[in-house]
């Protein structure tokens, strides 16, 4: 038995579709066996809610009387790009504010806009014949903007290495606080609920795939930056890929429950992004991937103490082990802690399930696969040539 997108969408329309979250599908396999579960389930919903630094939003402010081509822009004192057309900008989530760059930034501005709060806009320019105005000061809200859409060039990591610290001093990283001498391990994933981990060959997640993005319906637009396939392959056939996707969605329809600013001590600003992806159960191969459990999904331990290009790998670990709260590392039992919210990921997977069951959300076949490369290039510095 093989399913097509058309058949599944017909079932959604007629209200007969069977949708389970990835965790529920796994539980059903345990109760009834894979074959029976496969025959019944049409769609599996996956989700993640974690810090995704490569995020931001395009905004259009509208023109002023005596027009301005905004060259220097701040929003709540956070610099935004002055490199687009007159009153367009892009504000990046990790951009720090001019006065408190480590604790307030672009992510806070994006969250404030979504909450409907007023945001201070200050723009400067040089003044030209077509755009004579040299300064624009205004208080804006999301409603006032012509367009406001989130565009995140790298989200939803397929797999991310767990972090530890071999060194002798405490490190404050984007992977949280790492105590010396491998005293703790932090990881960031929703594991068996994680979208790209459950469709490892990205068969159904491609350009045009409709997704849940921050409370709105969004789309996959492109391969994510630094997306890589099979970066590590182990002798027993287990491999480790770092696929990512670029996504887009209407900021005006998002909710601050699913888009939240994050502050990491001595690192700076990031953005929690909630993403849900429905995966059609096209065939048994895909269903086997979709119902892989935390016991069968692995990541690497990485040492963050060197700061070098190649971060030392200290072996691999299953997500079941990480989730248990204790892992064995270098012969020691070490506590683990997550950085992405499984609680919120579960909520999103449930929400997506119900919106599909209520026919408010239908599935889209990708119009093009997202490319995944086998390696990513590093930056060669001028000083390296000497």
């Amino acid at each position: 038995m093989i399913r097509t997108y058309e058949e599944i969408n017909e079932k959604i329309k007629s209200g007969n579709v069977v949708v389970f979250t990835a965790e529920e599908a796994i539980a059903m396999c345990r109760e009834q066996g894979h074959k029976k579960a496969y025959e019944q389930i049409d769609v599996v919903t996956c989700a993640t809610f974690g810090m995704m630094c490569s995020s931001g939003a395009f905004l259009n402010f509208g023109h002023t009387d005596k027009r301005i081509r905004m060259a220097e822009i701040t929003l709540n004192n956070v610099p935004a790009s002055g490199g687009l057309a007159a009153v367009d900008t892009y504000i990046g989530a990790t951009q720090g504010s001019l006065d408190r760059p480590m604790t307030y930034g672009g992510a806070h501005v994006i969250e404030a806009l979504i909450r409907g709060e007023k945001v201070d806009l200050h723009a400067k320019s040089y003044g030209t014949d077509a755009y004579p105005r040299k300064e624009a000061i205004a208080e804006i809200t999301l409603e006032d903007l012509n367009q406001a859409y989130m565009y995140n060039p790298r989200n939803c990591y397929q797999n991310y290495s767990a972090a530890t610290n071999v060194g002798e001093r405490t490190l404050h990283t984007y992977m949280g606080t790492l105590f010396p001498d491998c005293a703790n391990v932090n990881y960031s994933t929703s594991g068996e609920l994680s979208p790209l981990l459950k469709d490892p060959d990205m068969r159904t997640i491609g350009m045009g795939t409709r997704i849940f993005l921050g409370g709105a319906q969004g789309y996959v637009t492109w391969q994510g930056t630094q997306s890589v396939k099979n970066v590590t392959e182990y002798e027993d056939g287990v491999n480790f890929s770092g696929g990512t996707i670029a996504v887009i969605g209407d900021l005006k329809k998002m909710s601050s429950r699913y888009i939240r600013a994050a502050v990491m001590k001595n690192y700076g600003i990031s953005l929690y992004v909630g993403i849900g992806i429905p995966i059609p159960v096209l065939d048994e191969d895909l269903f086997a991937d979709l119902t892989r459990t935390n016991e069968e999904l692995y990541t690497n331990f990485i040492d963050y103490s060197t700061g070098g290009l190649k971060m030392p790998q200290l072996g691999r670990v299953s997500y079941a082990q990480l989730r248990s709260g204790r892992v064995e590392l270098n012969g020691k039992t070490v506590p683990t802690a997550p950085l992405s919210s499984l609680y919120m990921a579960r909520e999103i997977a449930q929400l997506l399930k119900y919106s599909i069951a209520k026919a408010e959300f239908s599935l889209t076949q990708p119009i093009k696969e997202v490319e995944m490369f086998s390696e990513f290039k590093s930056l060669k510095l001028k000083e390296d040539e000497k």
């Binding site: 604790t103 949280g176 932090n186 939240r260 990031s270 997550p338 499984l342 609680y343 579960r346």
Partner: protein, 138 residues
């Protein structure tokens, strides 16, 4: 040995006097300053922790009161804003006593009775929803 947290409110004429020095010298108390808003000639507000014999702490407090300082005995506690929490679990990485933990539904819980108020969680929380509370002890 006993540890007590105090809030000391100084009238403006007392801010120039070395009162905490006497706590050390005369009553053998060790103190840590948590917060200090003191300028000579202005009203002062100091939050300290004093460590010493119980009888000496009592004597020290009496000395401060007799000197004209308004003394409040404080309990410091950690306050989690549950509505703002995203349940990521980053705070559980630094909590040494297990007061912050994820339950079986992956929801973040805070067990105040286990909390040792080390405050590591305050800055480890990416959503910045954990705060230190200073409240008066009855």
């Amino acid at each position: 040995m006993k540890t007590t947290k105090l809030r000391l409110l100084f009238p403006s004429d007392l801010t120039a006097k070395p009162l905490t020095y006497h706590l050390v010298k005369d009553f053998d108390l060790v103190y840590n300053i948590f917060q200090a808003h003191i300028k000579p000639g202005m009203k002062g507000d100091l939050i300290i922790e004093v460590i010493g014999r119980e009888s000496n702490i009592e004597k020290g407090i009496n000395f401060l009161v007799e000197s004209g300082v308004i003394v409040e005995i404080l309990t410091k506690s950690i306050n989690l804003d549950e509505d703002g929490c995203v349940h990521c679990g980053a705070c559980t990485a630094v909590c040494p006593s297990g007061a912050l933990y994820l339950d079986k539904d992956a929801k973040l819980c805070f067990d105040n009775s286990k909390c040792i108020v080390c405050e590591l969680c305050v800055e480890a929380c990416p959503a910045r929803v954990i705060k230190v509370n200073f409240s008066e002890n009855s």
